[in-house]
């Protein structure tokens, strides 16, 4: 079977699988977050935390809950990382303070940027108790906030947007844990390892010695992809044969990455009572995902068959097509797991991965964050185009007025500001520049990629950049923290503003937000906003490299 045929088959199977679960999973999620029954384990947790699961919070209270949970998570994970050498199963793993700060922010923000080497930087205990826990809860926070925004849009003048603790608990207990369990079993069956035995030292053919680490990889691998986290057990991430041994596990991992982000629009459609609304959003996401897949695959295919081309950075086990598919999915979802090294991609291919992040992680984006990011794009589209039908802009019967556009516009500006200012500053700070491997436009791409990845909570890297140093650890940490929570709070404020409104009835005079035209409009707005913001940077980085 030629690579094209197997590549197309892989994509075909993936798309079919995603389409098959879209409706049932989306509906299941809708039921999870509207059900008025609690599981025993959930009730126990609510009693423990003193939460009344039937109470609904205003947006400010919801945001405070998110903030409190984040602070506790940061302190706990930071402490765990700093003290890991004194804890069991350390096996010599330790971290600098700035690396620990960066890492704890990274995992709490669902970024999972790793400026340390996975297997030697964090002990098995920390990986399991700290990082794996954050893999679950940071993803659950994203889902919770997305659901809160949907509730705001669907609410009729109630002012409340649900209960964060309930949403968080249910997202973990009823969504992430069961799916991750199934995913882990499948990956295990596919050949991913899961053992706690001591590292083995082997002699290589050339006579050297190599230490082979092992650990509870399959379980962590499943949630790493499912929660769009991306922090690998091993430094090589999904390019490591223990994490991703073959084409089958590669496909399963991509499926796990995309399954929740692509199903959440259905949940949205369900909860607002008009399934077509969800379809329009999924259409928008799928269009851009497909377009970028075409670009990256084409660029990599062309590069690998050109006389100067090489397979540098790609696993021969997986090949160009599967690597491009993984790269596109991981950068379009804020996952950041990699099965090939994006640094070594062709300028256009790497630029494509970069563009996926610069779009704001909305195609389909991270779990939850992708949906709320896409809905903000929808709100911008409604605001600009809605006027053109002669009415004050409205989405789902909710007016987009002064308050709402302020929140949506500020949301749009946060990550571009972090990326641009972060990159520009790093390029003039000599300490940061010292970490760069490449010169010329590729060097710029390296730095731009790093700040784009951190600010948009992706976590993948142009691996050429040596990021484990105080300046980069701290500024990237700041980007991750601000890039995650400032937009999140703005989304919650938006949800609150919508929830306080009456719902206007839909008439022939209302701008439809469920049509292909509207999906196209969202594509236009997303591309235009990103393009206008980043065209100079992209021109100096990937474009200059590609055109020289």
């Amino acid at each position: 079977m030629s690579e094209q045929v197997s590549g197309l088959l892989t994509i075909g199977v993936l798309v079919l699988a995603l389409a098959a679960v879209h409706v049932p999973l989306g509906d299941y999620l809708a039921r999870v977050f509207t059900s008025d029954r609690d599981l025993a384990v959930e009730r126990a947790f609510y009693r423990l935390c003193g939460v009344d699961p039937r109470s609904s919070q205003r947006w400010s209270r919801y945001a405070v809950s998110v903030g409190a949970f984040t602070v506790v998570s940061l302190v706990f994970l930071g402490a765990l990382l700093m003290m890991q050498q004194h804890l069991p199963l350390a096996r010599g793993a330790s971290m600098d303070w700035h690396t620990a700060v960066n890492t704890s922010i990274s995992f709490v923000t669902n970024t999972n940027w790793q400026s340390y080497a996975g297997e030697s930087g964090a002990s098995a205990l920390v990986q399991t108790l700290g990082l794996a826990v954050q893999n679950f809860v940071s993803a659950a926070v994203g889902i919770a906030v997305a659901i809160a925004l949907i509730r705001g849009l669907a609410a009729r003048h109630t002012g409340t947007i649900g209960n964060f603790w309930v949403d968080l608990t249910r997202a973990v207990v009823r969504v992430l844990l069961p799916i991750a369990f199934v995913g882990a079993v499948v990956l295990l069956a596919g050949g991913v390892i899961q053992d706690l035995s001591a590292p083995q030292t082997i002699s290589t053919i050339t006579g050297g010695h190599q230490t082979i680490e092992s650990g509870l990889v399959a379980s962590q691998e499943a949630i790493k992809e499912l929660g769009t986290n991306g922090g690998g057990y091993f430094n090589a991430n999904s390019a490591h044969p223990f994490e991703n041994p073959n084409a089958f596990t590669n496909l399963v991992e991509i499926f796990l990455i995309l399954v929740i982000p692509f199903s959440l629009p259905r949940t949205y459609g369900r909860l607002v009572g008009d399934k077509r609304q969800g379809l329009a959003v999924v259409g928008f996401m799928a269009f851009l995902w497909t377009a970028m897949l075409v670009v990256i695959t084409w660029a990599e295919q062309a590069a690998s068959t050109s006389p100067t081309g090489a397979m540098e950075g790609k696993e021969v086990r997986l090949g160009v097509w599967a690597s491009a598919l993984f790269a596109n999915s991981t950068t379009a979802t804020s996952t950041g797991a990699v099965d090939s090294m994006h640094e070594s991609y062709s300028p256009i291919g790497g630029g494509g991965a970069l563009t996926n992040m610069l779009l704001g992680e909305i195609t389909p984006g991270g779990v939850g964050s992708g949906l709320y990011g896409a809905l903000v794009v929808a709100i911008l589209a409604v605001f600009i185009a809605g006027l053109m039908v002669g009415r004050t802009p409205e989405i789902l019967g909710k007016q987009v007025g002064r308050k709402e556009i302020t929140y949506a516009a500020l949301y749009t500006i946060v990550t571009p500001a972090l990326v641009l200012v972060g990159t520009a500053a790093a390029l003039v700070v000599s300490k940061a520049k010292a970490g760069m491997l490449a010169t010329g436009p590729h060097g710029l791409s390296e730095m731009l990629y790093a700040y784009a990845s951190a600010s948009n909570n992706n976590g993948s890297a142009f691996a050429g950049l040596t990021a484990d140093q105080p300046y980069l650890n701290l500024t990237l940490g700041a980007c991750m923290l601000i890039g995650r929570f400032l937009p999140m709070f703005l989304v919650l404020a938006l949800a609150g503003a919508f929830a306080a409104q009456h719902q206007r009835p839909t008439t022939e005079g209302t701008m439809p937000t469920h049509t292909p035209l509207f999906s196209g409009l969202m594509v236009g707005v997303a591309l235009l906003v990103t393009g206008l913001t980043f065209l100079p940077a992209l021109a100096l980085g990937p474009l200059a490299e590609a055109l020289s």
Binding site: I384, V389, L427, P441, A539, L543
Partner: protein, 709 residues
């Protein structure tokens, strides 16, 4: 007494607004395209006249309220300083065109304001400067300047005098010439009590004597408010304008960041672009077009209403009009002609139809009511001739007691026509025939929504027979059915308000094609209806004139008070229709929509423009570092300098090019939202992407011959 205002004021009545009256029909091409070369040349004249005003507005203290233009101002100052330090043709040209951008932006606003000023000047001349005859506590009269009148003062106004201030007639009845405000030359009657008691300062009493209680302080009268409204002095930004302003500001910040980080990004690997080029790029990217035209669009929207003789008390009301989803329309005068007309005559018994028509004709000859005349016309049509009243006939006038009218012919024949119940009672009492049948027919007519009139014939002392039933019905105004269909397509619900019984109301509602009706409506019912609609999230528009309409007018999102109405109604509403034409409500909705569409279209156009500007400036800026980027120069512009200058010039000229559109408003047709969206995205979105590629290329072809390119 300085009531020496004479004929020369009549010339002032011919203000532009008047010329437009009566032809305003939003659903038809009235605003599609007012102008050809004629309006263009008048626009040019206006633009030239507005230049001094535009220059005055270049004051940074004025611009600071518009962040986009303020950034342009700072950029212009910066480039001017740079051009002075390092003089070159290029730097001076860029600086000049940045100043031109500011000038053009202010020109748009000045032209829009200038249109209102002309109208305000006319109004100002009509403002009363008269003295007033105030009634003192003792009951005597004293002369005071009109400007010293206080609330609740009573003043006497006699024929030929100007009413010194807004107020209500508390004594007497008079005809008043209100042409100064309405442009309507026919005098109106104003009388104490009731819904026709309001008088406006500056209008002239033509006959009789009235006592007016002053209800507005000097300086706050209706005319004063009109002046400040049309001048835009009281103009406040509307909610949607503020929201759009926020988006534009945020976009400006994004572009500021994108441009400010270029030196660092480019400097990493080569020479940094000059500050001049960066400033030029910034001005091209920030949404100057819509930023410049935003306030002009708002002013022009108000102005379009003024041209239709509607005064909006706030821009917010105009915007709300675009959002209206329920229209409450009074039946009489809005949906139907003011009066009922004969539609049919049904023969009672086995009489000859033509004979019945003749009798009905004769019975109505003396009836001067519109209904009576319509019967005469209808029967004359059928008979083919128009009879004269037989000589010697005695007219029996209508009275509230008999509820019938008629005529006694010289031969003793008594013709009667009137309410079915009364005439049939007369027939029964006289022992005549046909009463039961006539009653049954009358009931049927009522059930169809018509009004039955029974015609009887008899002779003095003898039996009176019912011979026919006239079917009077409400006649729907021509064109209304189509309009309601259009409104429905636009997603607007129409509710007919009438005092008729539900049966009659339903028949008319069905015929007119309105979505719903409110029969036997009391002011409380109206209020309740508005509240229910609003609770369902709908915005409601209505018209009203009576004092009892005031609460509903205040509650409605768009309340249009008729100028003939009471001052309470005018206070309560947020618009006043000087023509007192309730049908105009539909036009007002269209104008509101047009305002929003224009704003959205130009925003889309402005943002879409940026793509081409990037393609002009980015290669120009970076080609020195990375020659490969020249392949992005898809317009094949002459040189880096000419590319940048062309983009800057395009950016300035597009503002001028769009001033007419922003004043006239985007062409608006009542379409479904999705059709309208697709159409406007095509024109202003796609057009906005393509137009600057062409424009910049053309400018570049000219600019390349300038020195320094």
């Amino acid at each position: 007494m300085s009531a020496d205002r004479d004929e020369d004021t009549s010339e002032e009545r011919a203000r532009p607004a008047v010329e437009e009256r009566g032809t305003s029909n939003l659903m038809r091409p009235a605003i599609e395209n007012e102008g050809t070369t004629n309006t263009m040349s008048s626009l040019t004249t206006q633009a030239v006249e507005s230049l001094p005003g535009a220059l005055r507005k270049a004051d940074p203290r004025h611009l600071v309220r518009q962040p986009v233009l303020f950034v342009v101002w700072i950029s212009a100052v910066l480039t001017t300083v740079l051009a002075c330090i390092h003089p070159s043709w290029f730097s001076f040209l860029v600086a000049i065109w940045l100043w031109a951008t500011i000038l053009f932006a202010n020109l748009a606003e000045s032209v829009a304001e200038g249109r209102g000023k002309a109208q305000a000047d006319t109004l100002r001349k009509t403002r009363a400067t008269a003295t007033a005859r105030r009634i003192t506590y003792g009951g005597g009269e004293e002369e005071v300047p009109a400007a010293e009148l206080k609330l609740d003062d009573r003043v006497v106004v006699e024929a030929g005098q100007v009413i010194p201030g807004d107020g209500d007639v508390v004594e007497g009845i008079a005809t008043v010439d209100e042409s100064a405000i309405t442009g309507e030359s026919a005098p109106v009657v104003r009388e104490a009590g009731g819904d026709r008691c309001a008088v406006t300062g500056g209008t002239t009493v033509l006959s009789d004597r009235i006592v007016v209680r002053i209800t507005a302080r000097p300086g706050e009268t209706f005319i004063d408010r009109m002046i400040s409204l049309v001048e835009g002095a009281e103009r406040q930004k509307t909610p949607n304008e503020i929201a759009l302003g926020i988006l534009l500001t945020v976009l400006t910040i994004i572009f500021l960041l994108a441009v400010a980080t270029i030196p660092s990004l480019a400097g990493w690997n080569g020479p940094k672009p000059s500050v001049l080029v960066l400033v030029a790029l910034l001005v091209c990217l920030i949404p100057t077009t819509i930023g410049a035209l935003l306030s002009a669009i708002g002013i022009a929207g108000m102005d379009r209403l003024v041209q239709r003789n509607v005064l909006a008390m706030s821009g917010r009301a105009v915007e709300a009009a675009g959002d209206v989803s329920t229209l409450l329309l009074d039946k009489t005068g809005t949906i139907t002609l003011g009066n009922r007309q004969a539609a049919d005559i049904i023969v009672v018994g086995d009489g000859e139809a033509s004979e019945v028509h003749r009798l009905a004709h004769l019975s109505s000859l003396a009836d001067e009511t519109p209904e009576g005349r319509s019967i005469v016309d209808w029967t004359a049509d059928r008979l083919g001739t128009h009879h004269d009243s037989p000589s010697g006939a005695t007219v029996v006038p209508f009275t509230a007691q008999t509820r019938m009218s008629g005529v006694d012919l010289p031969d003793g024949t008594q013709l009667r026509k009137g309410a079915a119940g009364s005439v049939c009672r007369l027939v029964r009492e006289s022992g005549g025939a046909g009463a039961d049948e006539a009653m049954a027919i009358a009931d049927r007519v009522s059930a169809d929504g018509g009004t039955p009139l029974v015609v009887s014939v008899g002779c003095e002392g003898g039996a009176t027979d019912a011979v026919g039933v006239i079917h009077l019905k409400d006649v729907i105004k021509p064109g209304m059915v189509e309009r309601f269909a259009q409104l429905r397509r636009m997603g607007i619900r129409t509710v007919m308000i009438t005092g008729d019984n539900p049966l009659t109301a339903k028949a008319i509602a069905d015929e007119a094609g309105v979505d719903d009706f409110l029969a036997e409506a009391t002011p409380e019912d109206k209020m309740r209806l508005i509240r229910t609609e609003q609770e369902g999230g709908r915005l409601v528009a209505m018209t009203g004139d009576g004092t009892n309409d005031a609460p509903a007018l205040a509650q409605a999102d768009v309340g249009v008070a008729m100028n003939t109405g009471t001052s309470a109604a005018k206070e309560a509403g947020n618009m006043v229709d000087l023509d007192s034409d309730p049908t105009k409500l539909i036009d007002i909705v269209g104008i509101g929509k047009q305002l929003l569409i224009t704003r959205g279209a130009l925003t889309t156009f402005s943002i879409a423009n940026d793509l081409a500007k990037y393609f002009a400036i980015i290669p120009a800026m970076f080609v020195a570092i990375y020659p490969g980027l020249d392949s992005l120069n898809i317009m094949r512009l002459h040189s880096s300098n000419s590319a940048i200058l062309s983009a800057v010039i395009f950016n300035a000229l597009i503002i001028v090019a769009l001033i007419p559109l922003s004043l006239k408003g985007v062409r608006y047709r009542p379409l479904r939202a999705d059709q309208m969206l697709a159409r406007n995205i095509l024109i202003y979105g796609l057009g906005g992407v393509i137009a600057p590629f062409i424009g910049i290329k053309i400018i570049d072809l000219i600019v390349q011959f300038l020195p320094g390119m």
